[in-house]
Symmetry: C2
Subunit: 204 residues, 2 copies
Amino acid sequence: MADIKSSNIVANSPAGMGMQASRQDEERKNNNIVETLLRLLPMALCLSALVLMLKNSQSNDFGSVSYSDLAAFRYLVHANGVCAAYSLLSAIVSAVPRPSTMPRAWTFFLLDQMFTYIVLGAGAISTEVIYLAYKGNAATTWSSACESFGIFCHKATAALILTFGVVVCYALLSLMSSYRLFSKYDAPVAYSNKGIEITPAFRA
Amino acid sequence: MADIKSSNIVANSPAGMGMQASRQDEERKNNNIVETLLRLLPMALCLSALVLMLKNSQSNDFGSVSYSDLAAFRYLVHANGVCAAYSLLSAIVSAVPRPSTMPRAWTFFLLDQMFTYIVLGAGAISTEVIYLAYKGNAATTWSSACESFGIFCHKATAALILTFGVVVCYALLSLMSSYRLFSKYDAPVAYSNKGIEITPAFRA
């Protein structure tokens, strides 16, 4: 508690304000770099999963199977495509050094949250299909398809693992964007000592 | 902007502080009631989905099928059970009027987020199984099981709809608990004018 008190005393002195402003700028710059990288990583993972799944097809004596034969895998491809596009776009936006405004923070928060749910959903339904393809199901008389199409199943599993990497990245991004958004809500009118960007209007 | 400025001037006068403290107490009480209700609702939905799924079995000339024959439905039942228990427990904790501390806010935030993902995952994989059971799949030679077991599929769909109700509740609860947690991070040392609970330590 003593730390918070003393840091506020320093922050309220004229010299402290200058020191704090430059420290804030530096922190903001570092945060921007971390966020941009954390948005480029899922883009790379999404694109890898996308390409792996798009090229995933197998033909043999039993017949042929392609990702497009299964609705779950089609959804996975679409989800990965849309997510890669959003990741790139949001990485560009977050790379530009600009004070964060409330509408921008809300947009990031809602979209990050939405994409976490979309990619998690896509990963979950594909997991179920791969599980059924490996194990089959006696009650519904669904046979194990992976016995006949081993390579197809392996590639689909690899794409799925990459997709869960995206889910982890987006869970972290959601945490980050909710911190950015909601920490504004109790912002003091004068200066913040936590390195959080406050809109110029709020700073007045 | 004028509103924020004037409300801060009022808040900083001795009379304003008293007025504000009582308004804060009232807001906090209302927030607690809303949160408790929002935690009891998914409990009711989880229990309904759980009971519906547990009793879901059908026998006819084609054979018999029960929820326990499908791994996805077993996971759905477990997820609903655990989620109902957590909803009840967290409703009790949030109903007790107590100043919110940082560890408590972090616990609520992390658990709410985790349960949103768990229930969303359970809902997604069960959706895929029901989709396959209705439509079948030609490439993997999986037949449509719902033609033979219509009642089973209907009940499973009903349980699924209830589960997605839980997902919506938990998405809102996640939003609420991230607001509670992260709005603390920039809390002013003296008084807050947003009705957010600050730990006594932070208030000193």
